[in-house]
């Protein structure tokens, strides 16, 4: 059989798969509501480019964390230790820097080593000791937070102005942090879609036994996903240190980065059972989250009511998928 005869593969049929586009639809709905809210209340000053960047800018830390969380959820694991890790990173990085620009690189290095270790330990506990990831990472979270609280209770260290570029700097007319976030998302997308590692991530999350019988070292894939997740949380911590100009042991818990990162991943269409979803969904989820906040601000909704509405919106979004796709969701 020559290549000429077998090469006639019919082109991939264009097929609309609702669940793949649902995050985009939700995002569109959120944008529409935002615009309508601004117009209806006459606050058209919020409808410009700078304000859009500001809306995005508020969610950088959450977005970076959620990119990592997407990897662990795709392999059917989960990471509850990201919030504590973020707090620890801000403190460690800013204490090491202590206002000295020469210490920026060592501080980043130390933070990444710490994050990588946390991810490695999470991954090892989940795979080798067979502990449910919910429990394993919850334990890790308590350990990190406990160690941190033993040493510091409020702002610690100082971040030199050079490092504040991460949060406040501009590049090519855009805030550097936003460019960084999208570059990271692009990298993650590339890894998931175009590499064997990404293919293995979906295989392990979809059916661990099938993956193992196909010769994939499932444990290594799960550990790698946890390391990636912790490294993303580390980067989010570095960003927050840069933004706060100091380290704060409460910043992770305050931002609820553990639960919110899971929430945006799920809103983005990634299934908690693993094996289905992707980075662009998560990016859409992050944007939806910050738009919801902006809508509430525009409408002047009370802070507590806001919380209630956010809870309802998360559940409603997941139910929206479940009803429309008639498949197991989250």
């Amino acid at each position: 059989m020559s290549d000429a005869t077998v090469g006639q593969v019919k082109p991939a049929p264009v097929r609309f798969r609702f669940d793949r586009w649902a995050p985009a639809l939700l995002l569109l709905a959120a944008v529409t509501i935002y615009v309508v809210a601004c117009l209806a209340t006459g606050q058209t000053q919020y409808l410009n480019w700078n304000n859009l960047l500001a809306v995005l800018g508020r969610s950088i830390a959450l977005g970076i964390t959620a990119i990592g969380q997407t990897f662990v959820i795709l392999v059917a694991s989960i990471d509850l230790s990201v919030a504590s890790l973020i707090s620890a990173v801000t403190v460690v990085a800013s204490v090491i820097m202590n206002g000295n620009p020469a210490m920026i690189v060592p501080a980043i290095g130390a933070a990444l080593v710490m994050g990588g270790l946390v991810g490695l330990i999470n991954g090892l506990i989940v795979t080798r000791l067979d502990v449910n990831p919910l429990i394993a990472t919850l334990g890790m979270s308590l350990v990190i937070q406990g160690c941190l609280s033993a040493f510091v209770s409020n702002f610690a260290g100082a971040v030199p102005p050079e490092f504040q570029f991460f949060a406040y700097g501009n590049l090519l007319g855009f805030p550097f942090a936003i460019l960084f976030f999208f570059a990271l998302a692009l990298l993650a997308f590339f890894a998931l879609r175009f590499t064997r590692f990404g293919s293995n991530v979906y295989a392990v999350g979809g059916n661990q036994d099938a993956a193992r019988f196909a010769g994939i070292s499932t444990e290594k894939v799960i550990i790698a996903a946890h390391v990636i997740c912790s490294l993303c949380a580390t980067v989010a911590g570095l960003y927050l240190a840069s933004r706060l100009r100091s380290g704060a042991p409460w910043i992770g818990a305050n931002g609820v980065y553990d639960l919110e990162s899971i929430a945006v991943v799920v809103i983005g269409g990634t299934v908690l059972a693993g094996g289905r979803g992707g980075i662009w969904g998560t990016v859409a989820g992050v944007m939806i989250f910050s738009l919801i906040d902006s809508i509430f601000n525009v409408l002047g909704v009370d802070a507590f009511v806001k919380q209630v509405l956010r809870g309802i919106i998360i559940v409603a979004a997941v139910a929206f998928y479940a009803v429309r796709t008639k498949r197991i969701v989250a």
Partner: protein
């Protein structure tokens, strides 16, 4: 036979703590041969296959590929040697495409990037090899395919690995009639290609249709070897170790049949129309028909899960209309679902808890878990004893029991409520031959005790052998009635609607 067999197993022995699973088992398969491996559940077929595929290591004996002894330490070793196994539970990823599944774990890459185009071309080539190319789109998600197509994807996966030996473990278990025929054609094509096919089944029809040689396993040993396909009865005799004369229970005698216990007149809903029938106490009423003819829909309507919209149903003389299974159960109807694991059992709980499930659900909300208005734990144990449920203890998780014993535990659950009508859906699916006989006799005992039994089964010989009366359904309604021992042909003609044309 001078050719070296592509795969041979010699003197294989395997012991697990407390049991000898396999003892001195051997068989060989040539290129282009379909070798049927038959035996009851628990005869050692799956252990043998797991040794062949590298999941288990044998304690004694050798596996030879092309005459050379090999040792598989991991399933991947067996795959590399050209041995692929298609298990009953597919190892496919539903959310990935056909191509992605076929290249799982061995994706083609170019410059560190997945080469989607090359993989799609290869997938199409393999699918075309056995004529599935027009049916399956390489870019379709596996979850969008029907079961038969999913199986073809598994076969394509094996072929793309250049499998010399393909093991198929009860491949027709989830297929309907026409899908079975398609599968048989594919097996024929594989044989023509020179693939050695090891075909595991306990359906005689498939053995006679496909096999070149037959090996029968019983209790972990080779009970018989046939160099050509013998009479089915010879195989069954070797498998069961007894004749099938007493396989089915005797039919009901006229004086065992009592008054009408349940009747439906003009019943209908979105899946059913003009349902008219009567069920008498003491009889087993069989429902035959092809998949989707409405038999399960009828059961669900009687059970209140998907109620009738029209018509009347009477139970023990009273007109009833159930809109929820709880009402039906309270009135005396029990149902044994076709999907035992999915709908019938709480797998992680004990045998006893599974037996107590329904009695507890209908006991008082604040009562004891040990006894309720229907039965207590001792009574449940006695019931399980009486039905000869084989378990290490009734405290054992029910997931460890064989299908037949699980089915008996579900029957025990209903017996505690003393139902007037019991509906069995596919009561012997996935159950081995001896246990099947046990279920038939159990159904007969229940009928003799005065219950009306409805039996819905896609296994036509079983309906003919076990039911006193057979109703045939087609397109949502009852089209014919047959008495005990009707011919298979007559029922199939009714079920498929060919009769009008033939007559």
């Amino acid at each position: 036979m001078t050719e070296t067999p592509v795969i041979e197993m010699k003197g294989i022995g395997k012991r697990f703590p407390g049991v000898v699973a396999l003892h001195d088992v051997g068989f060989a398969c040539q290129r282009g041969e379909v070798h049927a491996l038959v035996g009851e559940n628990g005869a050692g077929k799956s252990t043998l296959i797991k040794i062949l595929s590298g999941v288990y290591q044998p304690d004694d004996g050798d596996v030879l590929v092309e005459g050379k002894p090999v040792r598989f330490r991991h399933p991947v070793d067996a795959l590399a040697a050209g041995i692929s196994v298609i298990y009953q539970e597919f190892s496919l990823l539903p959310e990935r495409t056909v191509t992605q599944n076929i290249f799982l774990g061995r994706e083609i890459t170019r410059n560190w990037m997945l080469d989607d185009a090359a993989m799609r071309v290869e997938t199409q080539r393999v699918l075309d090899m056995f004529g599935a190319g027009s049916r399956i789109d390489p870019d379709a998600l596996v979850s969008e395919l029907d079961v038969a197509s999913q199986q073809m994807v598994e076969i394509a996966k094996a072929l793309s690995l250049n499998a010399r030996v393909l093991v198929m473990d009860e491949p027709t278990a989830a297929l309907n009639e026409s899908e079975c025929r398609e599968l048989f054609e594919i097996v024929d094509k594989l044989r023509d290609h020179g693939t050695a096919v090891i075909y595991i089944t306990h359906r005689m029809r498939e053995v006679t249709r496909l096999a070149d040689r037959v090996t029968v396993l019983k209790d972990g040993e080779v009970a018989a070897r046939f160099a050509s396909v013998p009479e089915p009865s010879a195989i069954v005799h070797a498998m069961v170790g007894r004749d099938i004369a007493d396989f089915y229970a005797p039919f009901a005698t006229p004086d065992e049949i009592g008054a009408t216990v349940l009747s439906v007149q003009g019943g209908g809903n979105s899946a059913l129309r003009n349902i008219d029938f009567e069920l008498k106490a003491g009889e087993i009423l069989g429902f035959a028909g092809i998949q989707g003819a409405g038999r399960v829909a009828l059961a669900m309507a009687m059970f209140g899960a998907r109620p009738f919209d029209t018509g009347t149903m009477t139970l023990a003389g009273e007109t009833v209309h159930f809109t929820h299974p709880r009402q039906a159960i309270r009135a005396g109807i029990g149902l044994l679902p076709g999907d035992r694991k999915g709908e019938g059992l709480t797998l992680m709980q004990s045998v006893r808890d599974n037996g107590m499930l329904t009695p507890r659900a209908f006991g008082s909300l604040v009562g004891s878990h040990k006894k309720n208005g229907f039965i207590d734990l001792a009574g449940m144990d006695a019931l399980l004893d009486r039905m000869e449920v084989k378990a290490a203890s009734y405290e054992q998780d029910i997931k460890f029991l064989s299908g037949g014993n699980q089915q008996k535990a579900i029957v025990a659950r209903w017996l505690a409520l003393k139902p007037k009508v019991l509906i069995f859906i596919e009561p012997t699916r996935g159950i081995d031959v001896n246990a099947k006989a046990g279920i038939y006799h159990l159904m007969r005992d229940l009928a003799r005790a005065g219950a009306g039994i409805i039996m819905i089964s896609s296994d036509l010989p079983e309906v003919i052998g076990a039911a006193d009366r057979i109703l045939v359904m087609r397109e949502g309604t009852i089209v014919a009635a047959h008495t005990a021992g009707a011919s298979e042909t007559a029922i199939m003609l009714d079920a498929t609607g060919e009769q009008e044309v033939a007559a």
